[in-house]
């Protein structure tokens, strides 16, 4: 069984990459295969990368406030390409009242500032729909 594959994605114009890099490394240290998109990716880039890399998890990082625009587009794109079973996570600065709409759009979980990386690892291992636990 192959390890869980994760795409860590910086979507939109947001340039804060500290959290994305810490998460990428923590997931790698937990035995997952991690691909990091780099900064300033459009939703189309992210969708393409997720499909090309055949990942199990798309972990999007956004701190610019553009999450309600960017994240649903990525999910819609994944679904349109039969990749709707990928686990989509969001990390960053997301007001509480936006969490409901994001969950409805298909985000499995939203992780805010101060999250322990172990919590993200556990969540992925408990919820991933494809691949196998690391």
């Amino acid at each position: 069984m192959r390890p869980i594959r994760v795409l860590v994605a910086k979507a939109g114009l947001d340039s804060h990459d500290r959290g994305a890099k810490v998460i990428a490394r923590a997931l790698r240290d937990a035995g997952m295969e991690v691909i990091y998109t780099g900064l300033h990716r459009t939703p189309e880039h992210v969708i393409q990368a997720a499909i090309q890399e055949d990942v199990d998890v798309v972990a999007i990082s956004l701190l610019s406030g553009a999450h309600l625009t960017v994240v649903p587009k990525i999910i819609a794109g994944l679904r349109a390409q039969d990749a709707g079973d990928m686990l989509v996570l969001l990390g960053g600065i997301v007001p509480d009242e936006d969490v409901g709409p994001l969950r409805q759009a298909g985000v499995a979980a939203v992780f805010g500032p101060g999250t322990d990386t172990a919590e993200v690892v556990d969540f992925i291992q408990g919820h991933v729909r494809t691949g196998s636990p690391a």
Partner: protein, 539 residues
């Protein structure tokens, strides 16, 4: 002073370390000052090597400038926030631009969707910029503008607005961040590759030294390096290394040092480790003065005197129990003041959740006012000098920075080190180590890994109305429809030609903006010539 063996008195931990991981002894004494020569290493305030402060009277003469970074929504909304802050006793302005601006795009660019006016103010045209400063005479306030890759265009907009207000350029004062080097390593709002970006900066040095002599043409920023996860020592070393790179670039472009070095200013983070932060700020002044004199033979005291803006650490703010952030910010601000800042931004308690609300900004400003007017710390200059611990820390940070300068030099300088991913790797490592220490409980963050609450405190947050984006898109499109297209096109062609050649870019950019070109269009012309930077993937 003999130290007692550790076994005699039990301590809370086997070892004590600063926030940046520096070991700390139980006690510091005269032996820690053995290598310190006060005349050589400290000097008096206002005297070489400026360890004790850039000016002789410091806050007895003039308090620091209270400068709260602000910007959101449209120019009119931010203008209202500026006026509110000035009414509340703020003494300088600081503009935050939104992401489309930081990346050189107009509001109606497809990549700008969802980002217009979110993290800062949306400015597409000269008319927008004029609205931003409506009723604020630009010869009466100093303005700081946080923008880097598109800085040359935004500075031209500012100068053009001053002109429209009837203010001559010799009277405008302020700072443009314009520190592109740290964009590649930390803040990451780059557009063009490093080498052409440096040319834009030396063009600005030359133009400002001739036409806007009171303008600080770069704010060499450690803030973002630290926020990206660097340690205090890395922040110090990488920022000063960037500073020396600008000194060398200006000189290589044929400018005499005295024409631009006095207008270089700095911007540091002030994090939670109180003494380490004060030491970092004192060490910065000493290193800058010493290296400028010893390496470059600069003697002009306006150049040797490092001046800096400080901001309390955004990354120390917590989303959990956010009111506690007021306390953190107050302690950090005090360290900034004891470190001798020339201007200060205090973060608002709600900034780990959203852009600050008016109430949160007022409390942040009041925090500075309390330090300035109630605590008495401003009554004497550099009250920390001579502290065994603090002077030892200052010297240690200086040594750490010197060791980094050697490493950077061995790679071939700052730009080759960026291209090799050196800084990016150092910062990613430090940030991961910090996270590990936090998660192992070695570092405490109240409300996050200690003293947590099950229930969230409700906080009213500021939200930017999506209507802002729609109206801004309409405004820029109406502007394009109403301008003299032939004149705009001709002026933009001239920008492209100047970018390809070596003539100073500021005059054609000013002409293009006045002809009606938008911010994004001018950036596009430069993009067409210089290309876009793609960073190495490092984590």
């Amino acid at each position: 002073m003999a130290q007692k063996p550790a076994a005699e008195a039990a301590e809370r931990a086997p070892e004590f370390r600063t926030l940046s991981g520096r070991p700390v002894k139980r006690i510091y004494g005269p032996e820690d000052l053995a290598g310190l020569d006060p005349a050589r290493d400290l000097g008096d305030p206002g005297e070489y090597p400026y360890t004790r402060g850039p000016y002789d009277t410091m806050y007895r003469g003039r308090l620091w400038t209270m400068r709260q970074f602000a910007g959101f929504g449209t120019a009119a909304e931010t203008n209202a926030r500026f006026k509110y802050l000035l009414e509340q006793g703020q003494t300088g302005l600081s503009v935050a631009f939104d992401y489309p601006r930081l990346l050189g795009l107009d509001s109606d660019h497809p990549r700008a969707e969802g980002e217009v006016g979110k993290m800062g103010v949306a400015i597409d045209t000269l008319d927008d910029m004029q609205r931003l400063f409506d009723g604020i005479p630009l010869d009466k306030v100093s303005t700081s503008m946080t923008i880097n890759s598109g800085a040359i265009v935004m500075l031209c907009m500012y100068l053009a607005v001053a002109e429209r207000q009837g203010v001559t350029w010799d009277k405008v004062s302020g700072t443009i961040q314009n520190d592109i080097l740290k964009e590649y390593t930390a803040q990451k709002t780059y557009i063009f590759p490093p080498r052409p970006s440096m040319r834009l900066i030396t063009d600005m040095f030359a133009f400002c030294s001739e036409h806007a002599p009171r303008w600080n043409s770069v704010s060499i920023s450690g803030y973002h390096i630290r926020e990206a996860g660097a340690t205090a020592g890395q922040e110090l070393a990488f920022t000063l290394a960037d500073g020396f790179a600008y000194v060398e670039a200006g000189h290589a472009a044929g400018l005499p040092y005295e024409a631009f070095v006095p207008r270089l200013s700095f911007f540091f983070d002030v994090h939670m480790d109180f003494f380490e932060e004060i030491a970092k700020l004192r060490a910065a002044r000493r290193i800058w003065a010493r290296r400028l004199r010893e390496r470059y033979g600069i003697e002009d005291e306006r150049s040797l005197r490092l001046r800096f803006h400080a901001q309390t650490a955004g990354c120390s703010l917590t989303a959990q129990q956010p009111m506690v952030n007021i306390v953190r910010t107050a302690i950090e601000a005090l360290a900034g003041v004891l470190g001798g800042c020339q201007s200060l931004h205090t973060n608002s308690f709600d900034e780990a959740l959203a852009l600050p609300s008016t109430e949160a900004v007022r409390i942040a400003l009041r925090t500075q006012q309390v330090i300035a007017e109630e605590t008495g710390v401003t009554n004497t200059v550099d009250p920390m000098a001579g502290s065994y611990y603090l002077e030892a820390l200052t010297a240690d940070l200086e040594r750490e920075a010197e060791a980094y300068f050697d490493k950077i030099e061995a790679i071939g300088g700052v730009i080759p080190a960026i291209e090799a991913g050196f800084f990016q790797r150092e910062i990613a490592d430090a940030s991961y180590q910090y996270q590990q220490r936090l998660q192992h409980g070695e570092l405490a963050v109240v409300g996050v890994n200690k003293y947590t609450l099950d229930q969230k405190e409700p906080v009213e947050i500021l939200r930017v109305d999506p209507e802002v984006e729609r109206s801004q898109v309409q405004r820029v499109q109406a502007h394009r429809a109403g301008r003299d297209q032939a004149a705009t096109d001709a002026a933009l062609v001239a920008v492209g030609r100047a970018a390809e050649g070596s003539a100073n870019l500021m005059p054609p950019i000013l002409a293009a903006l006045k002809a009606g070109a938008t911010f994004g269009e001018v950036c596009d012309r430069m993009r067409a010539v210089y290309g876009e930077y793609v960073e190495p993937i490092i984590f």
